[in-house]
């Protein structure tokens, strides 16, 4: 036991003396979260638009008011004729032009219908689509209000409600995603690098020619990073809660327990990597290339797995992050418990057993 504490102490010296790495470890999640949360959002606010209102009557003004007061749009200019549209787009500062036809109110009163044209700048198709949807939504709403007044025959209107993330905030998606990616990267990369460093510096030779048992060496390496990664997970959760109002609706304890399970999985992956490589560079490259990319692409963190071709879907099944994202989103946003997550939990445990088994088998009690 005393030997083991000595090992731990030594590992912590390494971690705290390499303050640059430590800074990156704790700086990276903060920066990533801020970037994902503030900059890389799918929500669009204050999109600049122009309006060409041919009728300028009571109803058309009500509709444009409603659109502009939604918070999604800002009126840049009121156009007077169709000729001005092209020029306004070309100046590049507007995303959409709304055209309300001549006699908007009278047409609605007489025919029960009037048309509204939306011209969108589709050079960025995503933004165009999202903004168009916003306007359609607002127009639908407006229509319904009108119908209430006119007491027309019953009409079925679909009512969509966004569950768990009513405002469709993308930071709800990013906080669990960032935790998942970072925990995996840091845990796997840091352990694999630190074991590879011992091999590279020749100190592994000295450790091996000592009464230490292989399992002691491995756990001594892993435990400090469990603590480090766990602290990091808590930091990210707090940041999400206080800066972006991302709630933890389920049990916090359960969330933390799952985080530890996932960290252990990531670390066992790191040990496995280090048992195959001999230098810090290779360890880093493998963890970056073989872990980061698939984890970001195939875990469902950014791109929905369901839309991928089936070979990629199959590949995603072996990615630990995919299962953890399901768990963490479930616990954080949907407040579900172990009962509904037993499949994912089981998969995580199987993966841990697999990698630990493999590493213990591959751990060399000698140099070859």
């Amino acid at each position: 036991m005393k030997q083991f504490i000595g090992l731990l102490r030594k590992e912590f010296y390494h971690i705290f003396r390499d303050y640059r790495t430590l800074l990156i470890l704790f700086g990276m999640p903060v920066v990533q979260l801020l970037i994902f949360g503030f900059a890389l959002t799918n929500d669009i606010k204050n999109a600049p638009i122009a309006i060409l209102d041919h009728s300028k009557d009571e109803l058309s003004r009500q509709l444009t008011q409603k659109i502009l007061s939604s918070g999604y749009f800002i009126l840049v200019e009121n156009l007077e004729s169709e000729d001005a549209i092209e020029a306004s787009f070309k100046k590049g500062n507007i995303k959409q032009v709304l055209i309300l036809e001549q006699g908007f109110a009278s047409k609605i009163e007489r025919d029960g219908s009037a048309s509204l044209q939306i011209l969108a700048d589709a050079s960025d198709p995503n933004i165009a689509r999202i903004l168009t949807n916003y306007i359609m939504g607002i127009v639908n709403d407006f229509q319904n209000e009108l119908m209430k007044d006119t007491k027309l025959p019953v009409e079925i209107t679909p009512e969509v409600k966004m569950l768990y993330n009513t405002e469709l905030k993308s930071v709800f998606m990013f906080v669990p995603g960032v935790i998942t990616v970072l925990l995996l990267l840091i845990s796997a990369m840091m352990t694999s690098i630190s074991i590879a460093r011992e091999k590279e510096m020749g100190t592994m030779e000295v450790l091996l020619v000592s009464p230490l048992r292989p399992i002691q060496i491995i756990i001594g390496k892993v435990l400090p990073y469990v603590i480090l990664a766990f602290t990091l997970a808590v930091v990210i959760l707090l940041l999400g809660y206080f800066v972006f109002d991302v709630p933890v609706r389920g049990s916090v304890v359960l969330l933390l327990v799952y985080s530890i399970i996932y960290i252990v999985l990531a670390l066992s992956l790191g040990i496995f990597i280090s048992s195959v490589v001999n230098s810090q560079q290779v360890a880093m490259l493998i963890s970056m290339a073989a872990l980061m990319l698939p984890t970001i692409m195939l875990s469902g963190f950014i791109f929905p797995v369901e839309n991928m071709p089936w070979p990629l879907q199959w590949m995603s099944y072996i990615i630990p992050a995919k299962w953890f994202i399901i768990i963490i989103r479930g616990v954080m946003l949907k407040a579900i418990g172990v009962g509904l997550l037993w499949k994912e939990t089981l998969i995580l445990f199987v993966m841990i057993a697999f990698f630990i088994g493999l590493s213990v088998k591959k751990f060399k009690i000698r140099l070859e």
Binding site: H14, M201, G202, T203, V206, V209, E368
Partner: protein, 270 residues
């Protein structure tokens, strides 16, 4: 008990033969030097003895324990200092020593007598990171770390490579004092001048053991006469000596030339 017994050890890596049929014993309480150029197989033999490599053929025993079967017991009772600096560079002198004491289940104070003389020399720098020590001090620290658990046999793989002449001499003085504590020492070196400081030496080249004897006997058994020749025009000198039919072989050696004479005539360079 014979501390180190080596019987017919061979070892190859892929197709390269690193060691061929090596057999010798190291006696209790002696300093045994393994002398040979780089790539002779010294490190491979050391690694087999400290249980880091499996021998290809043959058997070896350290403290009467088999290096393959009883590797756990051997690892507890030998001290090993690998070639190159293999301590933690970011840990201070004291932290390194404490760490190695702890993993061997002992403390610095318990075996302080053994390392006292060496450690006192580096003690003024005990808070300095090991990576920032000079070459000689690094070796002293590494020796302390290898000694801290009072091993019965000490394996030192090229401990003086890259160390200045004064520190090398000090280092060998320390080995003699360690030997007086009853610890058997096996040391390897590429420097011929260190051979004379060992009790017995084994000459190794290309994985083969050439001879084993006391340094004095090895010199005595040498069939030729050895001359050092110095000249202002070294290049002409070496050419002239090589042309002469009285010389056996001529090698440049630092600032003079080794001239192995076949006959009795002594020639002197101009």
């Amino acid at each position: 008990m014979i501390p180190i017994e080596i019987k017919n050890i061979s070892k190859s890596f892929d197709k390269t033969k690193a060691l061929t049929d090596i057999s010798f014993d190291v006696n209790e309480g002696e300093i045994f030097g393994l002398i040979g150029p780089d790539g002779a197989g010294k490190t491979t033999l050391f690694r087999i003895l400290v249980t880091l490599l499996l021998p290809g053929n043959g058997t070896a025993r350290v403290l009467g324990l088999d290096v393959v079967k009883d590797y756990k017991k051997i690892r507890k009772s030998v001290g090993y200092m690998p070639g190159g600096f293999s301590l933690y560079q970011d840990l201070s002198v004291e932290e390194n020593l404490t760490f190695f004491a702890t993993i061997f289940n002992t403390t610095i104070s318990e075996n302080y007598d053994l390392i006292k003389e060496i450690y006192q020399q580096i003690e003024p720098f005990k808070t300095r990171p090991a990576g920032k020590l000079s070459g000689g001090m690094k070796q002293k620290l590494a020796l302390c770390c290898a000694l801290i658990h009072k091993p019965e046999v000490l394996f030192l793989d090229e401990p003086t490579t890259g160390v200045d002449a004064v520190s090398r001499k000090e280092f060998w003085d320390m080995l003699k004092r360690i030997k007086q504590q009853g610890i058997t020492i096996m040391v390897s070196t590429p420097y011929m001048d260190e051979a004379g400081l060992c009790d017995r030496v084994g000459l190794i080249q290309d994985g083969q053991l050439l001879s084993i004897d006391t340094p004095a006997n090895i010199v005595k058994k040498f069939p030729h006469r050895l001359l050092a020749v110095r000249s202002a025009e070294t290049y002409r000198l070496i050419n002239d000596l090589r042309k002469s039919n009285k010389t056996n072989s001529v090698y440049p050696f630092e600032d003079c030339f080794m001239d192995l004479m076949g006959g009795n005539t002594i020639s002197k360079g101009g």
